[in-house]
């Protein structure tokens, strides 16, 4: 009897492993939401009190190629989804920013100028572009480093905004 159990043991252990794998694989994906107060903004053109969430805060620069890549998605967010986006131009000359937005369209409700890189440090960036999602209480709920792709918008940004709206109603 004891021998038989020993022979069964590998099978039992293996099945337990399979069950735990299956739970991980079959579980619907959860989006990690954070909840952190927004660092203060004291930039030329954009101060903390200007910001009304839910909104996106997007660090960009006209000299940054990846920013060009995400520009269409920002335009779609502001035009189609009516989501306010606040831009922060990082170490960018004013006339360069203006020309950039004239060429590609302006998705931003307001633009702050971070010429000295102060906000860059306060917000803990590692480069541009980076995007933050702010809720109605000016809490950061989501942080995206790098180019914001179309699938990021549909799979992450929009679901979080919907979830924020439903919790607000409760």
């Amino acid at each position: 009897m004891k021998k038989n159990f020993l022979n069964m043991l590998p099978l039992v252990v293996f099945l337990a492993l399979v069950i735990s794998f299956a739970t991980i694989l079959l579980r619907p994906e959860k989006i990690e939401m954070m909840s952190k107060p927004m660092p203060p903004l004291t930039l030329k053109g954009l101060k903390t009190e200007d910001i009304k969430g839910p909104a996106l805060i997007n660090f960009f620069a006209s000299w940054c190629t990846p920013c060009h890549a995400e520009h269409d998605n920002l335009m779609a967010l502001s035009e189609k989804h009516k989501l306010p986006i606040y831009g922060i131009a990082y170490k960018d000359k004013r006339k360069d920013t203006d020309r950039y937005l004239k060429e590609l369209g302006n998705p931003y409700k307001k633009i702050g100028r971070d010429d000295k890189g102060r906000a860059f440090i306060d917000w803990g960036l590692s480069g541009v572009p980076e995007t933050f999602l702010i809720d109605a209480d000016n809490m950061i709920r989501y942080h995206h480093a790098g180019v914001l792709l179309e699938e990021d918008v549909s799979a992450t940004i929009m679901p979080i905004i919907q979830e924020l709206e439903t919790t607000d109603e409760n």
Binding site: N4, L11, F14, S20, I24
Partner: protein
């Protein structure tokens, strides 16, 4: 047209594999095995054709290749992606099945069972390819050019790393099929062991070579300055290697002494299961890591299903039939058998610790606990202590005879190697510390180098005593003995490399502008300039660095930061100056964005690292020598 033929060949292959799996006629099984290989080969060739002519209407080619890519990487591109690598996996599976069909494995009923199991394995993997990972899907309209191969994968080492690794993984499927057939027939004896040994050797040697190449590639290409990172995907290849090592040694015990039957059966099942688990971990995206290039939950579920079916089925056969296997041979506590059992215990335990370290974060996640990761400190604390006694015993085992040994005859034979080890260890450490100075790790140094010395000296002494150093005896020494000595010595040699490059590693990161000098170990690095260069499908910043050793100029190093515009990805090409004492390894980092004058330069000195690669080569070579030995004997 040709891609459609390839697709059609895969569909036919699925049907043939199923026929090989379930039809009860041995003759049909044999022919199916041959046909299955030819169909797989056609599918693989069709895909390769699409890559060679860069047929961009094939989605897989458009996503992974580019007209500008060098020819050799167009070919390597076939398996540099998920779908293509699964076709390669299936091709190898059918190759092994055909080899079994053509071999002289007896009796026919036993061979038929093996072919059935291989047919069922092939059926599952072909279904996986056709339903979740079809490489021949068309893309209309075809893009103007492809998205390029992942530039990190554009390296000769990587072109042959996956085929070797897969040869190892898939090679263990033969031992798996042998074990199940043996259990079902109730015949897992010394004849079984003799028949399975060449297959295990082939798989083990290929896997060793594959892991070695991967490690070499990480060291030279990834620019991280290390050769092993306990990355889940590396662990996924290490686990079957550890169990495969145990399997190889216990098969020898079974062949010589007709014992350990159940254990051998279980090892054969688990070794291939871990190979499949490796595929599952890499392909499913359950573990995210640099290696995981296919992240698709559907694939994960499918592979998990296959794993459950095959491993679960095999373990069920084991649970049902293991009782019918009787082991009768007796041996004393000091015997070759005992040392090999100890080897098996250490290898299996080491494999279990790696498995736990790799899966623990996953299990915690399954229990909805916090996400954690298990890093190198865990593995160093668990894996390394297990290896020390294993390596010490490894040095002694070849001296001990089968059945019953005695201390009386053993002690005098070990006296010489022990004296040499004790005599050479202090001077060796003195030389190493003098050369590489700075930080020392007294205990680790003594234990590590002690073990490596002990193993190399015992291995050489055993060889010398066995041949008595007479030319005719050296000539007549069987290849299997040569294989063992070479592989064991290879472990020792690799160990010197691992210890040297871990314990005496020196690392410096400096912001440098042209003209600046960095001192590291016995070297001086002077940054001359940083310029731009252009390759066939990339542009790069390249630094000119003058290398001086003890005040004399010995070389100019040119590390690069490449940018591949098509893939929108960069790679770091480290520059390395090799010598038999150490490697100087220089990588060019970012330029500072403010003044655009300074560059981040990372430099490492890895003492003894060349011995790591030499050791790897010897390990794999030892396996292949023993393999040729078994073929010669049976011929």
């Amino acid at each position: 047209m040709i891609p459609e033929l390839g697709h059609f060949a895969l569909i036919l292959a699925l049907l043939v594999a199923l026929a090989q799996g379930i039809l009860p006629f041995p003759e049909i099984k044999k022919r199916s095995a041959i046909l299955l290989f030819l169909l797989n080969l056609s599918a693989f060739s069709a895909l390769m054709w699409a890559y060679i002519v860069t047929d961009l209407s094939v989605n897989n080619v458009a996503e992974n290749s580019h007209t500008l890519k060098p020819f050799i990487y167009k070919i390597a591109g076939v398996w540099g992606n998920h779908e293509g690598s699964m076709v390669l996996w299936s091709l190898m599976l059918s190759l092994f099945s055909m080899l079994v069909a053509l071999s002289k494995v007896q009796p026919e009923t036993f061979k038929a069972k093996i072919l059935s199991i291989q047919g069922l394995l092939a059926t599952g993997f072909l279904a996986f390819i056709l339903f979740t990972s079809n490489p021949f899907t068309r893309l209309l309209p075809a893009p103007v050019d492809g998205a390029g191969l992942n530039p990190i994968l554009q390296d000769p080492g990587l072109a042959i790393h996956p085929p070797l690794l897969y040869m190892g993984y898939v090679g263990f499927s033969v031992a798996f099929a042998f074990a199940i057939a043996g259990l079902l027939e109730g015949k897992l004896d010394k004849h079984w062991a003799k028949a399975v040994k060449p297959w295990v050797l082939l798989a083990w040697s290929s896997l060793s070579a594959g892991i070695a190449l991967g490690s070499w590639w990480a060291y030279y290409e990834l620019g991280w300055g290390g050769w092993w990172f306990w990355d889940p995907v590396e662990n996924a290849s290490l686990m079957p290697w550890l169990l495969g090592t145990a399997l190889l040694h216990s098969v020898i015990v079974l062949e010589k002494r007709d014992t350990l039957k159940r254990w051998v059966a279980l090892l054969a099942i688990l070794t291939f299961s871990l190979s499949m688990l490796g595929t599952f971990l890499v392909r499913s995206g359950v573990l995210t890591s640099v290696h995981a290039f296919a992240v698709d939950p559907m694939r994960g579920v499918f592979i998990l299903g296959l794993l459950t079916l095959y491993t679960g089925g095999a373990l069920a056969v084991y649970a049902w039939k293991a009782n019918t296997l009787e082991s009768k041979a007796e041996f004393s506590s000091l015997s070759r058998e005992t040392t090999l059992i100890l080897n098996n215990l250490f290898m299996a335990t080491a494999c279990a610790t790696v498995l736990i370290g790799t899966l623990y974060p996953l299990l915690m996640e399954a229990l909805n606990a916090e996400q954690i990761s298990v890093g190198p400190p865990y593995f160093q604390a668990t894996f390394v202590p297990l290896m020390i006694p294993a390596l010490l015993i490894m040095g002694i085992a070849p001296f001990i005879p089968w059945k019953k040994g005695s201390f009386k005859s053993l002690t005098p034979r070990l006296k010489l190697p022990l004296l040499i080890t004790i005599g050479t260890l202090p001077p060796l450490i003195w030389v190493m510390e003098n050369n590489n100075g700075d930080e020392t790790h007294p205990v680790g140094v003594w234990i590590g180098l002690g073990v490596a010395l002990w193993l190399s000296i015992t291995t050489i002494t055993e060889w010398a005593q066995r041949t008595e150093l007479k030319p005719d005896r050296i000539k007549s020494l069987p290849l299997s003995s040569w294989g063992m000595s070479t592989a064991h010595l290879g472990i020792a040699v690799a160990l010197f490399g691992m210890i040297g490059s871990t314990l005496w590693l020196q690392e410096k990161v400096l912001l440098m502008k042209p003209g600046d000098v960095m001192e590291i170990g016995r070297y001086e690095l002077k940054l001359k300039e940083v310029g731009s260069i252009f390759g066939p499908n990339y542009a790069a910043d390249a630094a000119q660095i003058e290398l001086k050793a003890s005040g004399r100029k010995i070389d100019t190093l040119t590390p690069e930061r490449r940018h591949y515009p098509v893939a929108q990805q960069g790679t770091t090409e480290a520059a390395i100056r090799k010598s038999w004492r150490d490697d100087v390894y220089v990588a060019l980092g970012e330029q500072d964005t403010e003044s655009r004058e300074y560059w981040v330069i990372r430099a490492y000195v890895h003492p003894l690292v060349p011995y790591l690669w030499l050791g790897y080569v010897m390990i794999a070579l030892g396996g292949f020598l023993a393999l040729i030995g078994t073929r010669k004997k049976s011929a």
